[in-house]
Assembly symmetry: C2
Homo-oligomer: 133 residues x 2
């Protein structure tokens, strides 16, 4: 498997991480996501990681990097489905997922992305540079 499939659903791109990430795959995912945000005008990127038993600094950096690039392209990144053990380890290691919002599952993550779109539909020019938590 040399590419992780990206599903487009409305204005959101959904990625499920199922395989062990390595350098090349992470890079390919970032490139594919970036290209797809531009092509589809997606405003949200939803990354589902319930299959991951470990989120180490490599995966952490990948997520942060995807979020940063997506933000530049005006798409918000939400990580969904984190296992409890992973959450505990992240906090214990002091690993911060800067610029990434987290949701309990994909359904709530979608709601987050959609809420943001509705919000911007009302106000426009909302605080996009703010670091959401």
């Amino acid at each position: 498997m040399d590419r992780i499939p990206i599903l487009k659903l409305g204005g959101t791109l959904i990625v499920t991480i199922q395989v062990d990430m390595h350098d090349r795959l992470a890079l390919a995912l970032e490139e594919d996501l970036t290209a797809m945000i531009v092509r589809t005008g997606a405003r949200g990127v939803l990354i589902e990681i319930s299959a991951l038993e470990i989120v180490d600094s490599f995966i952490g950096r990948m997520l942060v990097s995807i979020a940063a690039v997506s933000r530049v392209l005006d798409a918000e990144t939400v990580v969904a489905g984190m296992r409890p053990a992973v959450a505990i380890t992240l906090v214990e290691l002091g690993l911060e997922l800067t610029g990434i919002r987290t949701a309990l599952n994909v359904e709530r993550g979608m709601a987050m992305v959609q809420a943001r779109l509705v919000e911007e539909g009302d106000g426009h020019g909302s605080d996009r540079d703010g670091h959401e938590e």
Copy 2:
């Protein structure tokens, strides 16, 4: 990876096939899907296979089996994202995906599932045993 994550989105369960399927994994997926249909009351199962370069008779049987079990539990199965080469091979081999509807991508697949729900909301008791094509 011993389990393929299943995403719930509204009344639909979404599965992305990214790894090589083997017996145990296929069985686990079928069990997980079945349990999740019962638990969530989902009415649609969307299987995304754009990462698959080959759909052999093993994968074909797995899909047909998932569809059959899901149908018994009143959920429709849609396979989305099939590669052109895979479609050609399926036809050439005469492999039939009985009881499975196919969609070009996840977005259209979701529309299919939702259309069915709306349809049933109107009429109820629609021809569920009919082999859709």
